[in-house]
C-alpha cells in the first residue's frame, strides 16, 4: 500500500486546485482520474469566465485548465490518469484500478472532487441516437472537434444550455430553438441575448412532446405547457433537427462518498454530502469540493478545491493555524463574491422584480431572451453622449467585473461588489479602444457612435464566428431579437492578442438603427 499526504479523487477544476494548494504547502499529493486526460470538463469550456480577476474572469476555461494543470505539475503533484477510484474505505484507504492492476493507497487526507453528471429528460423517442446531453455535444465539438449535428434543438435555458447553444453556433451548427418548460430563461440574460441576436428563437413554457425518427432523430415536436406542466393541445410545433441536446441540470456524483459512509442530506434536488465550511465531510479528513458538494460554476469549484486543500494540510500540520486563517479569509471572500447576485445558489428559482439598484429586471430578457429596445436606456451602462461610447447592456446582478478593469480610461465603474451593474462614466471619455467589448464575458458591451456623418452611425460588436467578415463587406444588421433591420457595411474588423480571440466588427447603419442593431450577418446569397 502506497501512502500520500493528500489523495485527490478527480482531476477537474476542484481536484487540481485542491492538489495545487496542498502541494504548495509541502504535502505529497496524488490525484487519480478515470479519464485519459486531466482537466475534467474545464478544457471544453471555451468561453470567457465570469467573476473578478481573482476568479480568473475573462479567461477562457480551456486556458484556465492549462494554467491549473501546469501549476499542479510544477508543484510536484502526481496525476494518475486512466485510474478510476473504485472504493473509499475506513481510514481513508483508496482502491484504484490501473490498466495492469488494482492497487491500494492510503491518504492522510482525501479530497473527493468527483464532479457531477448531466440530468436526463425522458420523452417519447429520448433514446434515439441524436438525443444527447449538452455536455456530450460540447465534448464532441470542443474536444473531439466533430460537429454533434447539423441542426440542433436545445432543451434547457440554464447557463449550460445557453453556453453550449452558443458554442454550437461557433462550431457552425444551426440552433433551431432553445426550449424550456419554465416560464423564464434560467441562465444569465447576457448568455440568452448572445443567442437571440443571431436569430435563435426561445420557447419558454414549452416542453418536448416527442423526438421523431426510426434509427436516428429526424425531427422534434415541442408544445406549450399549462400551469400543471401539461402540453396544451394545438400548441405543438415541429422542428427539422438531427440532434436534440438536453441541458436540464446536473446531479452531484456522490457515489464514492456514499459508499465510504459519509453523511448525505437531501437538498431537494438530490443528495449532497454534509460538509463543514472547509469541505470536511462527516468522515474525519475526508473532504468534498466542487460540484460533488453542490452544483455551481467551475470558478467556485476551483476555490472550494483550494479551501479543502488548505484545510487538509492544516490538519496534517503543514501550515500553522495563523497561516491557514489568512489564506481561508482570502478564499472565503473570493467564494462569497462569486455567490452573490440574482442567480446566487441560495436564491435558486426566485427571480426578483428589481435589480439591487432598484431598476426593473427586463421581462423581455427573461421571456424572450433579449432586451426590448425601449428598455435599454434605463440601465446605468447606457448613456447618450456624443462621439464613440460603450453601450453596456448588462442588466442583471451577476458576479462579474472585467469591463471595469479593461477600460484604460476608467470609463466603467462597478462599485459596491462585483454583482453591481456596470456604470458608464461619460466624464472619463471613451477612447473607442474596444477592450471592454472583448473583455465582457457576456458579450453585452457594444461601441456606438451615433453620428459618423452623412446620416450614418457605427456599431461595434464582439464577434466570435468564422468566417470573419472583411472590411467593405455588405451584410444585414440584426436587432436584439435577430430580426433583419437594414443593410450594413462592415467598416472595421479588429483582432488583437488583448482581445483573446474575440474579434471586434464595426458596421455602418443609418442613424436610427444605432441603438437597435446588435449583430451583423452576411447577406444570404440569392
Amino acid at each position: 500500500m502506497t501512502r500520500y499526504d493528500v489523495i485527490v479523487v478527480g482531476a477537474g477544476p476542484a481536484g487540481l486546485s485542491a492538489a495545487a494548494e496542498a502541494a504548495a504547502a509541502g504535502a505529497r499529493v496524488a490525484v487519480f482520474d478515470e479519464n485519459a486526460k486531466p482537466g475534467g470538463q474545464l478544457f471544453k469550456q471555451i468561453h470567457k469566465f465570469f467573476g473578478a480577476k481573482e476568479h480568473k474572469a475573462k479567461i477562457r476555461g480551456v486556458n484556465i485548465g492549462a494554467e491549473l494543470l501546469a501549476e499542479a505539475e510544477g508543484l510536484g503533484v502526481t496525476v494518475f490518469l486512466n485510474a478510476p477510484v473504485m472504493g473509499l474505505y475506513k481510514d481513508r484507504e483508496v482502491l484504484v484500478r490501473h490498466a495492469d492492476a488494482v492497487r491500494r493507497y492510503k491518504g492522510d487526507a482525501v479530497v473527493v472532487a468527483t464532479g457531477a453528471s448531466e440530468n436526463m429528460l425522458t420523452f417519447p423517442g429520448w433514446t434515439l441516437p441524436g438525443v444527447t446531453g449538452a455536455g456530450a455535444a460540447q465534448t464532441m465539438m470542443n474536444i473531439n472537434r466533430v460537429k454533434p449535428g447539423h441542426r440542433v434543438l436545445m432543451l434547457g435555458s440554464g447557463n449550460v444550455g445557453l453556453v453550449v447553444g452558443f458554442q454550437l453556433l461557433q462550431a457552425g451548427c444551426e440552433l433551431a430553438a432553445v426550449v424550456d418548460a419554465a416560464p423564464r430563461v434560467g441562465g444569465y440574460g447576457v448568455h440568452a441575448a448572445k443567442l437571440a441576436r443571431t436569430g435563435v428563437p426561445f420557447y419558454l413554457s414549452h416542453t418536448v412532446v416527442r423526438a421523431e425518427g426510426t434509427d436516428r432523430v429526424t425531427g422534434v415536436v415541442v408544445g406549450q405547457v399549462d400551469d400543471t406542466w401539461n402540453v396544451i393541445p394545438g400548441t405543438e410545433k415541429r422542428f427539422d433537427v438531427d440532434t436534440i441536446c438536453i441541458a436540464v441540470g446536473l446531479s452531484s456524483s456522490t457515489q464514492l462518498l456514499k459508499m465510504a459512509g459519509c453523511a448525505l442530506r437531501d437538498d431537494g434536488a438530490g443528495w449532497l454530502p454534509v460538509c463543514a465550511d472547509d469541505g470536511e465531510t462527516s468522515m474525519a479528513r475526508v473532504y468534498a469540493a466542487g460540484d460533488v458538494s453542490g452544483i455551481e460554476e467551475a470558478s467556485s469549484a476551483m476555490i472550494e478545491g483550494r479551501i479543502a486543500g488548505a484545510a487538509a494540510v492544516r490538519k496534517l500540520g503543514f501550515v500553522t493555524e495563523e497561516a491557514l486563517a489568512v489564506r481561508m479569509a482570502e478564499l472565503e471572500s473570493a467564494l462569497e463574491s462569486l455567490r452573490g447576485g440574482m442567480f446566487a445558489p441560495g436564491r435558486r428559482g426566485k427571480i426578483p422584480d428589481k435589480t439591487d439598484e432598484g431598476l426593473p429586471i427586463s421581462a423581455s430578457l427573461l421571456s424572450r431572451g433579449y432586451l426590448d429596445d425601449a428598455e435599454v436606456d434605463q440601465y446605468p451602462g447606457v448613456k447618450k453622449t456624443a462621439g464613440i461610447r460603450p453601450v453596456i447592456e448588462c442588466t442583471q446582478n451577476i458576479p462579474c467585473n472585467p469591463c471595469r478593469d479593461a477600460c484604460p480610461k476608467g470609463c466603467i465603474k462597478v462599485e459596491g461588489g462585483i454583482v453591481s451593474l456596470p456604470v458608464y462614466d461619460e466624464k472619463a471619455g471613451c477612447a473607442g479602444c474596444g477592450l471592454c467589448v472583448a473583455a465582457c464575458s457576456g458579450q453585452s458591451i457594444f461601441l456606438v457612435d451615433d453620428d459618423t456623418g452623412g446620416g450614418a452611425a457605427e456599431v461595434t460588436i464582439p464577434y466570435e464566428f468564422l468566417p470573419l467578415p472583411g472590411e467593405g463587406e455588405r451584410g444585414v444588421a440584426l436587432s436584439r431579437s435577430g430580426a433583419a433591420l437594414c443593410p450594413a457595411e462592415v467598416v472595421g474588423v479588429k483582432q488583437s492578442p488583448a482581445y483573446d480571440k474575440t474579434a471586434l466588427v464595426t458596421f455602418r447603419v443609418p442613424q436610427e438603427f444605432a441603438m437597435k442593431a446588435r449583430f451583423w450577418r452576411k447577406e444570404a446569397v440569392v
Partner: protein, 103 residues
C-alpha cells in the same frame, strides 16, 4: 462533420490518420481520438441495438458514464466507444443485445 477550423480553438492540429473497419467497411479516423468521434465524423450514429426491443442507441453522454454507446471492438462487446482511443486496424462492429453474437 470535422471541425478543421474554429473561431476560438483555431486550426486543428495535424493528427495521424489510421484505418479501421465498421461492420467490415473500411473507414479512416485519427489515431487516439475516441472511436465514437471517428464514427460520428464518418456519419455513423447507431452504435448498437438493445436486447429486448432491438431499438437503436448512439452517443449520449460522451464521457464514459452512461454506456449507451457501447459496441463490439476487436471482438470484445460492451466497449465504451466514447472513451476508447481509436487504433490502427481496429475492428468496430454494431452490437446487438449484450453482445452475445460477438463470440
Amino acid at each position: 462533420m470535422r471541425l478543421t477550423n474554429h473561431p476560438i480553438l483555431g486550426e486543428a492540429e495535424a493528427r495521424r490518420e489510421v484505418t479501421f473497419t465498421f461492420d467490415g467497411r473500411a473507414m479512416t479516423g485519427f489515431e487516439g481520438e475516441p472511436v465514437a468521434a471517428a464514427l460520428k465524423a464518418a456519419g455513423v450514429v447507431v452504435h448498437r441495438y438493445t436486447k429486448k426491443n432491438r431499438s437503436p442507441r448512439g452517443v449520449f453522454c460522451a464521457i464514459g458514464r452512461c454506456t449507451d454507446c457501447v459496441m463490439t471492438v476487436n471482438g470484445r462487446p460492451n466497449v465504451r466507444t466514447c472513451v476508447t482511443p481509436l487504433e490502427d486496424g481496429m475492428a468496430v462492429a454494431t452490437q446487438y443485445g449484450a453482445g452475445e453474437e460477438a463470440k
